[in-house]
Symmetry: C2
Subunit: 696 residues, 2 copies
């Protein structure tokens, strides 16, 4: 039985994809509402597809070039060497292409349903909250279950064909590199539109959010989809696959050890498969009554999934004769994920001190709003970092009685445990932008106060769920990159390198100092990209309001040129996403090929530390500024239009690129770095400048 | 001759103190100007002394408690152990007290002259720039030369009496702990006053900076002195002493090695002594003609000092038979310091893209100003981190042919080389707040346009010099803490511990994750302290403008209640400085005594990385917002009063606590952590919870 146990992975992956398809057709048959709504929805869909098409076209070139490079160089030695195994080279390149394709497909599927579900949820909201909620949730579910299904199916196929975790690494790199571009590009697009629409619309002219007079309103809605849905799907797809690969690599080491009974090679696949089943069962329990609280429903689904996962994996451990300690490590990861999510909830909830005090600081001015929010953002890094550290320490010590390699495998399984239920997490997260769009459509199509109130409530539940899911995503990425660091070490050492991470070795130190600078530089590049882009779009919005007669007054029949704004955001995003993403890969390779694997180890460690730090800081300060603004809009401190509100809007606008552009890209960035380093470790061990010069 | 060579240290320290005294009396005999000016100057002096008195009274209690604890516990074993050497315990406690005292004295001296020099420089400015400049520069020089003189004299005395670098560590800890409080307290005070004065005065009421109607104007001037002068003096005092101690500890190891000829124990003292002489000679060359450029004069002085240092240390190396490679390491450090200073100049100069683009972003609104400035701040971390990494790598490889211990000593000497000329750096830096105050006094006393223009020019030279000196200070702190990390490792290993910094050891990883969170939490605490304090003061300023008839209109004879504002800032700063400072020390001890020296090593490494990152980010983004505002005030993008100006003022206000409160405290924070860890390393090796529980 044991040798076929891993088949649970492709099977549940297929079930997951089928569930995604079921949700897709469920959404499709819902009513899209009035002509006006259909019109808006199709404008959003068009904009989103236009962006995605241009993005994927650009990326296709990049992917082609990289796949050729991979074919030439990986696995070591390069193809011109007589010992090179051309079949393996081809397998690597194909795995890479397959990973990119799956990641792009997951993003596309999520996007295509999200842009349909928004109008349908708005329409259903006219019949009450409990009618609209499932549309939002299942819309998110298409994305969630497509992502994990495609991810695990892809990994299973590559693994079944090659039986080599190193080739799966190629698949993972394909997924991550594409995710990096998707995150950065989508993030730049969405915030360009959002900031520009807010600054001119809300701040300068005082018209409401999502007002159809605003030329950037469609671009803003498109942005929610390409940034939050497609980008985020690609992001979690990449963490998910990376965590499985890291565990596979660390598990492979065990296979030659006496205790292992040869079962650990497949354990990550078995647990990942069970994770998907748990998420599916959990998702089926998510429902909300007529007067129910949708936020609670989403979070309850998460808890139910966790419990199902714990029970099913315990059964598998019993049946398949795994060590209980390793099961424990996976559960530790899962629990840590939930706890990290909860603490991030504390920092962004509108009834807790961070948001309350930031809202209060708005009454003394813009500068104090920024300083206060930023400071709480700094505070917020503490609990999750401790959480990640504690989870890895506990997982390690739990498994270390089995041996040192088991202890590292324990860390890998903790990461996998944390990410196992990610199908549900993504569903909850993708729910957010869908209902956010519904609210926009309800406003633009004039569906009336009551519908807007319901969509507001749906939206606010999205924010509640999002706090937990974001914390979860960062915690999972943190544990995953630590597991990847272990895989990097194990891969490099197998190739004859030594990785000590000893900071008293100046190469390690130099690597670490470059590494800690990288996430800062990356963030700066994408945020300045947003800034440059937003300047162009702000000028365009101002121009339209000035030059289109009757637009500002909302004269019947006068419509702004929405497409122009979508176009500016698209062109700008594509221009700005390349340099930081390519820099990430290039500097990693440069450090490795110049200074060797030891320096590269320091570099990875530095980048991971600083990446986690900035990711947490930016996600949480952005979230809390957003909620402080919403709190004021709900009527406290003078409500909408007050000076405090103006200050809070600036805070929110500063937070936008933090939480939606730079912050979430950093997870992907450090994953990509770790994968590139691991993939090239073997080549670098023997071929680096210092070694050639005889200096190391 | 060799055995007396180290006497150059106490001798040049004494010369330095004498030069400081000479400058002091030079300043004292200058004319203080009109009655009005004397009145303002004495209000500032009174406020500054009031703050310092209360601060030192509070700190005296802290210092007393800590000295008792040191007496009981250090050096290991504690006094109740029969093997404890009570004389050594007493020496440690006394060295600690002595260090605290010297640090406090340096701050006091600097402050007492700075508060006198401001009015005198303003008065001299009525006779031209070349009359006012020397008063500003020599006023700064009192502080600069008192700091290095007291520091090196203190180290020399403690070392001569005990011949034990470990006891000098106690002295260094005294200096650093006091510096931490002084930096945090002064930083909170100065920004409370600055932010409040600007927000109500400039933004709400549109009255000029330093307008005497503003109730916070005196508090603002006091703040410049207690924050920038006294705090900064204590800060560089602490880096300076720490760099010497680190080199002494690393040099002691060499003394038993064959190559050393017993000379390396004293080499750090010899080079430090020469550094002071070079700074004195350099300072004497600093002068400015009638139409000269004071900014150039300050920077020329720095370059001249560097050259003198290089020549004199080369002579010493020749005469005293040191290895040339080690001399090279010191020079590498010095050059790196200058280069780092120059790159930080790039990011804060008003004719370079970062400031220009931030100023331009102000035209599209406040949010874009913040995002752009913050992004360039993120970019700015790259060059100095590479610089620190490159300096230590080059120093290491330069010396490694002599042996591994020599290579570490090389890093220590690079740090010392960088800090050797710090006397001049402090003089240049303290010059800034003095002439800034002169400008304020000229404005308040109504000395006319021409005098204000001259003081403006002096002030702007201060900013130019400050960019380089700040970069220098952070670079030096970076190299110093790396040298301290090496000292920590060497101390802990001598006591039987093993320090590997191996991130695959979960305790090291956990330590590192806690460590990287600490600077973020510390920054958050001090900045929220500023925020809380500023809220109180803003309310008071608004109250005075509302309730004092004729104040806003500037009616003859109506004066605001300046003392009330000084009082609010003082009480608040004292309340807010304790928690973050004590937390820094407490968490370090907790990590050590719970998880042992390995975890503590990871913790230090994490804290150093994240501390450098945030220190650079905050110093540079703060500086560039400041200069973007000044650029707009000079007339571009609509000049004063335009919307762009309002946005730039908010940027500047956000940057204030970044660059003057949190940023500069972080250097001191990581130094204190490193010193605490090194001091307690021996005790921790045998006494930690995990060891007691048998878990490590």
């Amino acid at each position: 039985m044991n040798e076929f146990a891993w088949l649970i992975a492709p099977i549940s992956a297929l079930v997951s994809i089928l569930l995604g398809l079921y949700f897709y057709f469920y959404i499709k048959k819902q009513d899209s509402g009035t002509e006006k709504m259909k019109e808006i929805s199709s404008a959003i869909t068009e904009g989103a597809y236009a962006f995605l098409k241009r993005e994927y076209t650009t990326l296709a070139m990049f992917v082609t070039v990289v796949s050729v490079l991979i074919f030439i160089f990986l696995p070591a030695p390069p193809i011109w060497n007589s010992e090179a195994n051309l079949l393996k080279h081809a397998a690597m390149a194909l795995a890479y292409l397959f990973g990119s394709f799956c990641s792009a497909l997951a993003g596309y599927l999520g996007l295509s349903v999200a842009t349909k579900a928004n109008a349908k949820a708005a329409q259903a909201a006219r019949n009450g909250l409990n009618k609209a909620f499932p549309i939002g949730f299942r819309g998110g579910g298409v994305m969630g279950f497509a992502v994990v299904g495609l991810g695990l199916l892809g990994v299973s196929i590559v693994f079944a064909l090659t039986n080599d975790p190193y080739v799966v690494l190629g698949f993972s790199f394909g997924a991550s590199a594409l995710a990096l571009f998707a995150k950065a590009g989508g993030g730049i697009f969405t915030k360009t539109a959002d900031i520009s629409a807010d600054l001119v619309g809300k701040v300068e002219l005082g018209i409401p959010e999502d007002d159809p007079r605003n030329p950037a309103v469609i671009a803003d809605n498109v942005g929610d989809n390409v940034g939050d849905v497609a980008g985020m799907g690609a992001d979690l797809f990449d963490s998910y696959v990376a965590s499985i690969v890291a565990a596979l690599i660390l598990g492979q080491v065990l296979n030659n050890l006496p205790l292992s009974k040869g079962v650990y090679l497949h354990m990550p696949l078995v647990f990942a498969g069970i994770g998907i089943l748990a998420a599916i069962l959990g998702a089926l329990t998510v429902r909300v009554g007529k007067s129910g609280d949708p936020g609670n429903a989403l979070n309850m689904g998460t808890y139910v999934t966790c419990i199902i996962f714990a029970v099913l994996t315990a059964s598998a451990t019993y049946l398949l004769d795994y060590e209980w300690r390793i099961w424990g490590a996976a559960i530790v990861g899962l629990i840590a994920g939930v706890i990290i999510g909860m603490t991030s909830d504390y920092f962004t909830s509108d009834d807790k001190p961070p948001v309350l005090k930031t809202a209060q600081a708005s009454t003394t001015g813009t500068a104090t709003t920024i300083i206060t929010g930023f400071s709480y953002g700094l505070h917020s890094v503490f609990p999750p970092l401790i959480g990640i550290g504690a989870a890895s320490t506990v997982a390690y010590f739990l498994c270390s009685p089995l041996g040192a390699d088991y202890a590292l495998f324990g860390i890998g399984m903790a990461a996998l445990g944390m990410l196992s239920i990610v199908g549900l997490i993504i569903s909850n997260d993708a729910y957010g932008p869908i209902v956010d769009n519904s609210r926009g459509i309800a406003e633009q199509a004039g569906l009336g106060e009551e519908v807007i109130r319901i969509t507001d409530e749906l939206d606010s539940a999205g924010n509640t769920a999002k706090a937990i899911t974001k914390g979860f995503a960062i915690g999972a990425a943190g544990l995953t990159v630590i597991a990847l660091l272990a895989s990097f070490k194990s891969t490099a050492e197998e190739a004859g390198g030594t990785i000590t991470f000893d900071l008293m070795n100046p190469l390690v130190l130099l690597g670490a100092l470059i590494g800690i600078a990288m996430p800062a530089v990356f963030s700066a590049m994408v945020m300045l990209g947003v800034g440059r882009n937003a300047e162009r779009m702000i000028a365009e919005i101002r121009r339209q309001f000035k030059e289109t007669p009757g637009l500002k007054e909302g004269k019947e029949g006068v419509k702004p040129d929405y497409a122009k704004c979508v176009d500016i955001a698209t062109v700008g995003a594509l221009k700005e996403l390349m340099p930081p993403s390519i820099l990430t890969i290039a500097v990693t390779l440069i450090v490795g090929f110049v200074a060797g694997v030891e320096a590269l180890g320091g570099y990875l460690a530095g980048a991971i530390f600083s990446g986690l730090l900035f990711a947490l800081l930016m996600a949480n300060s952005g979230g809390l500024w957003d909620n402080a603004k919403k709190l004021i809009e709900s009527g406290v401190h003078g409500g909408k239009g007050s000076d405090a509100h103006k200050a809070a809007v600036v805070g929110d606008t500063v937070g936008d690129p933090f939480k939606d552009t730079a912050g979430p890209s950093l997870n992907t960035m450090i994953t990509v770095m770790s994968l590139v380093a691991t993939l090239f470790a073997i080549l670098i061990v023997d071929n680096n400048l210092l070694k050639l010069l005889g200096l190391s």
